[in-house]
C-alpha cells in the first residue's frame, strides 16, 4: 500500500528538476501576490513617518533610506510627544472613530438579532402571508442584496429630513442594518439548516416552548455562525461610505467620510494623510488577522453545498 502511494507521488513529480520548477513557480507566485497585497499597506504606514523630502525622493525603507519622523502622527495629535496635549484634530478623529464604532456595532447587532430570528423561522416553519410562502419571503429578503444604495439614498435623504433623522447615528444604524440584513439572513439560514431538527424536537418534548428551545438549544449551537455573520456585517458597515457621505454632515460623520474629505482638499500633507489612513484601516486589519477564521466562515456560507 505504502509502495503504491509513493508510486503515485513519483509519477506526479516525474523528475527532481520539474518538482523544483513547480515549487519555485508556486512560491514565486505566492510571494508576488503577497507583495501586491501588502505593499500599499507598507507604503501607507511608512509614509506616515516620512517628511516632505523623503516623500518626494521616493524613499522606501525606514532607517536605511530615511529617518522616521513622527510628523504625520503629530498632526493627528497621536504622536508620543503630542498625545497628552489638547489637539482639535485628535478630538475630531476620535469623535469620527466613535461614530464609526457605534454605527457599525449597532447596525450589526440589530441585523444579527432580527436576521437570525427571521432565518430561524424560515428554516423551521411554514409561513403563509397572503399569497407569500417561505420561498417568496426568503427571496424577498435576499433580493435586497441587489438593491443599489443609490436607489434608496435620495428618498432617504428627503424622508430623514422630514423625520428628523438626518445626520444622526440612529439614522445610519437603520440604513446599515438594512444593508447587511440579507447577508446575515443568508449566512444564518445556512447555519440553522445544518443543525438537526431532532434537537429541538427533544427540547419540545421536555417541555420547552418554541422560543425556549430557540434560546436554550439552538442559539448556543449557532453561535459561531452568528459571530461570523456579525464580523462580516461589521466590516461592511465600517467601510461604508456612500450613505454616510450623503446623510451625515457634522454630528454623525464616520471615519471613511473624514478620510475622503481630507483627500479632497488641496495641499494636504502626505504624511498626515498617511497617518489618518493608517489609523482608519488598523482596526479592521487587526480584526482580519485575529478573526480570519470567522470571516472565511461567513463568506463561504451557502456557497459550497
Amino acid at each position: 500500500m505504502s509502495v503504491q502511494t509513493t508510486d503515485y507521488s513519483a509519477s506526479e513529480i516525474r523528475s527532481p528538476a520539474s518538482f523544483l520548477a513547480n515549487r519555485v513557480f508556486i512560491y514565486g507566485a505566492l510571494i508576488f501576490w503577497a507583495f501586491i497585497c501588502l505593499f500599499p499597506i507598507y507604503w501607507t504606514i511608512t509614509t506616515s513617518f516620512k517628511t516632505a523630502v523623503d516623500v518626494t525622493q521616493g524613499h522606501l525603507i525606514p532607517f536605511v533610506d530615511f529617518k522616521p519622523d513622527w510628523k504625520g502622527w503629530r498632526s493627528l495629535g497621536l504622536s508620543p510627544d503630542s498625545i497628552f496635549q489638547t489637539s482639535t484634530v485628535r478630538e475630531e478623529f476620535l469623535k469620527r472613530f466613535m461614530n464609526s464604532v457605534i454605527t457599525s456595532v449597532g447596525a450589526s447587532s440589530l441585523a444579527i438579532v432580527i436576521g437570525s430570528l427571521a432565518a430561524y423561522g424560515l428554516t423551521r416553519y411554514r409561513y403563509h402571508f397572503a399569497w407569500f410562502k417561505n420561498e417568496d419571503i426568503s427571496f424577498f429578503f435576499l433580493s435586497q442584496l441587489i438593491l443599489p444604495p443609490v436607489v434608496l439614498a435620495l428618498p432617504f435623504l428627503v424622508l430623514y429630513r422630514e423625520v428628523g433623522l438626518l445626520d444622526t447615528r440612529i439614522g445610519l444604524i437603520l440604513l446599515y442594518t438594512l444593508m447587511v440584513l440579507p447577508i446575515v439572513i443568508w449566512i444564518m439560514r445556512d447555519q440553522f439548516n445544518s443543525i438537526p431538527v431532532e434537537l429541538e424536537e427533544a427540547a419540545l418534548v421536555d417541555g420547552l416552548s418554541i422560543w425556549g428551545a430557540f434560546f436554550r438549544i439552538v442559539m448556543p449551537i449557532a453561535l459561531p455562525g452568528m459571530v461570523a455573520a456579525f464580523i462580516l456585517a461589521m466590516v461592511l458597515c465600517w467601510n461604508e461610505y456612500f450613505f454616510a457621505a450623503l446623510l451625515t454632515s457634522t454630528d454623525a460623520k464616520t471615519i471613511p467620510v473624514m478620510v475622503a474629505s481630507q483627500t479632497g482638499s488641496q495641499g494636504i500633507n502626505w504624511w498626515s494623510m498617511a497617518a489618518l489612513a493608517t489609523a482608519a484601516i488598523t482596526p479592521l486589519a487587526v480584526i482580519g488577522i485575529a478573526l480570519e477564521r470567522y470571516l472565511i466562515m461567513g463568506m463561504t456560507a451557502g456557497a459550497v453545498k
Binding site: 508556486i26 436576521g115 416553519y125 435620495l154 424622508l159 465600517w238 461610505y241 478620510v259
Partner: protein, 373 residues
C-alpha cells in the same frame, strides 16, 4: 426547502389548535391590534392635516409617525400570540425583520418613484413641483448617463478577469504549500480595508504622477508619461485595478472553499488514468467548480453594480465623466445641483435595468447550475 416542509408537518404534537385559546384572550388580541392600527392611522391623518395646514394640532416633524409604526409593530406581534397561540409565536420570528424591511425598502422605493416625477431642488425654497415625465425625457437625452451605463458594462466585464486571477490564487492556496494560513490572511487583507482609505493609499499616493512608487516603476518599465487618471482609457483601467485589488479576495475565498470541498478521489482517479495537470484542470476541476464559480461571479457582479466609493474619492468621475459609474454620477448630480427629482429618476431607471439584468443573469446561470439562489 422541501425537507423543512416535512419536518414541520411531523410536529402535530406541539401545534396547539387555535380553538384551545379562550375566546376572551382572542378578543383581547383583536382589540389590541385594532386599537394599534387605529392609533397609527390617526397619527398619520393628524400629521397630514397639520402639514397641509388644515389641522391645527400636530408635530413639527414626522417622527411620531415612526414611533406609532413601531408601537403598531409591537402590538401586532403581541396580538398574533394572543389570537393564534403557537402559530403566533412562530410568526413572531419573522415579523421584526419583515416589518423592518417593508418600512425601510418598500415605502422609500414607492416614495422614490413619486420623487422621480417631480422637479425638486432641495436648496431652493420653491419646494417640489410635479412635472410628470420631464425627468425621463431629460434622462434619455443625457450623454453622461449613457456613458455611465456603458462604463458599468465595462466594469462588470472586468469581473471575469478578476475571476481568472481569483481562481489562480485559490489554486495556489490549495496546493501543497507551507505557511498556508499566513498567505491566506495576507491575501484576504485588501478586503478588510475601507475602499476610501484604499483610494487614497493606492489611487492618490501610489499612483501619484510625480513621486508615487507605481508611477516610478512605470517610468522604469518604459512608460514615459505614467498619468494613470488623465486619459479616459487608462483611468477606467486604473479604477478597475483598484476595485479588483479590494475584491479579488472575496471571490478567492469562495473558490478556495469550493476547491477544498472537492473530493480527492476524483483527482486521484484522473491522475491514475494518466491525465496531465492541464487536462485534469479543464476536464475535472473546472467543471466540478462550476456551481461555486457561478455563485461567486454573480455575487461579485451584484457588488460591482454598486461601485461608487472608489470613483467618487479618486477621480470624482473624471476626466470629463469618463470613469463615472451610475452611482457616482448620481451622487455628483445631487451634490452639484441638489436636484433630487432628476437624480432619483436616474436611480429608479438604474434599479429597473439592474432588476431585469440580474433576473436574466440568474435564469441564464440556472442553466449551468441548478442550485444557485
Amino acid at each position: 426547502m422541501a425537507d423543512q416542509t416535512s419536518t414541520t408537518n411531523a410536529w402535530p404534537a406541539n401545534s396547539v389548535p387555535t380553538d384551545l385559546i379562550p375566546p376572551g384572550r382572542k378578543r383581547l388580541g383583536w382589540a389590541l391590534m385594532a386599537a394599534a392600527t387605529l392609533g397609527l392611522l390617526a397619527t398619520i391623518l393628524v400629521q397630514i392635516l397639520y402639514k397641509s395646514e388644515v389641522g391645527t394640532i400636530g408635530f413639527e416633524t414626522w417622527r411620531p409617525v415612526v414611533y406609532a409604526y413601531i408601537l403598531w409593530g409591537v402590538a401586532l406581534g403581541v396580538g398574533q400570540v394572543l389570537t393564534r397561540g403557537e402559530d403566533g409565536q412562530r410568526a413572531l420570528f419573522l415579523l421584526p425583520a419583515l416589518l423592518f424591511t417593508i418600512a425601510m425598502v418598500i415605502f422609500p422605493t414607492l416614495f422614490g418613484f413619486y420623487i422621480a416625477l417631480t422637479d425638486w431642488n432641495l436648496s431652493s425654497f420653491s419646494g417640489r413641483k410635479f412635472n410628470g415625465l420631464d425627468n425621463f425625457w431629460q434622462m434619455l437625452g443625457d450623454p453622461y448617463y449613457r456613458n455611465a451605463l456603458f462604463n458599468m458594462v465595462l466594469y462588470v466585464l472586468a469581473v471575469f478577469v478578476e475571476y481568472v486571477i481569483a481562481f489562480g490564487l485559490a489554486l495556489l492556496l490549495n496546493a501543497q504549500i507551507r505557511a498556508r494560513k499566513f498567505f491566506r490572511v495576507v491575501f484576504l487583507m485588501p478586503l478588510m480595508l475601507s475602499p476610501v482609505a484604499v483610494s487614497w493609499m493606492i489611487g492618490k499616493s501610489l499612483m501619484e504622477y510625480r513621486f508615487g512608487p507605481a508611477a516610478t516603476l512605470a517610468r522604469h518599465l518604459g512608460w514615459e508619461n505614467p498619468a494613470f487618471f488623465s486619459n479616459p482609457i487608462t483611468a477606467r483601467i486604473s479604477i478597475m485595478v483598484l476595485d479588483a485589488w479590494t475584491f479579488i479576495p472575496f471571490m478567492m475565498i469562495m473558490l478556495l472553499a469550493g476547491l477544498q470541498a472537492m473530493s480527492r478521489e476524483v483527482l486521484e482517479a484522473a491522475r491514475v488514468d494518466g491525465a496531465t495537470p492541464w487536462q485534469t484542470f479543464w476536464q475535472v476541476t473546472f467543471p466540478l467548480m462550476l456551481p461555486v464559480s457561478v455563485t461567486a461571479v454573480i455575487l461579485r457582479i451584484i457588488f460591482k453594480l454598486k461601485l461608487a466609493d472608489i470613483i467618487i474619492t479618486v477621480t470624482s468621475g473624471g476626466p470629463g465623466g469618463a470613469t463615472d459609474s451610475v452611482s457616482s454620477f448620481i451622487y455628483r448630480e445631487y451634490r452639484d445641483r441638489s436636484n433630487v427629482g432628476y437624480g432619483t429618476m436616474l436611480a429608479m431607471a438604474y434599479l429597473i435595468i439592474i432588476v431585469v439584468f440580474v433576473t436574466w443573469l440568474l435564469k441564464f446561470a440556472s442553466r449551468f447550475v441548478r442550485n444557485v439562489n
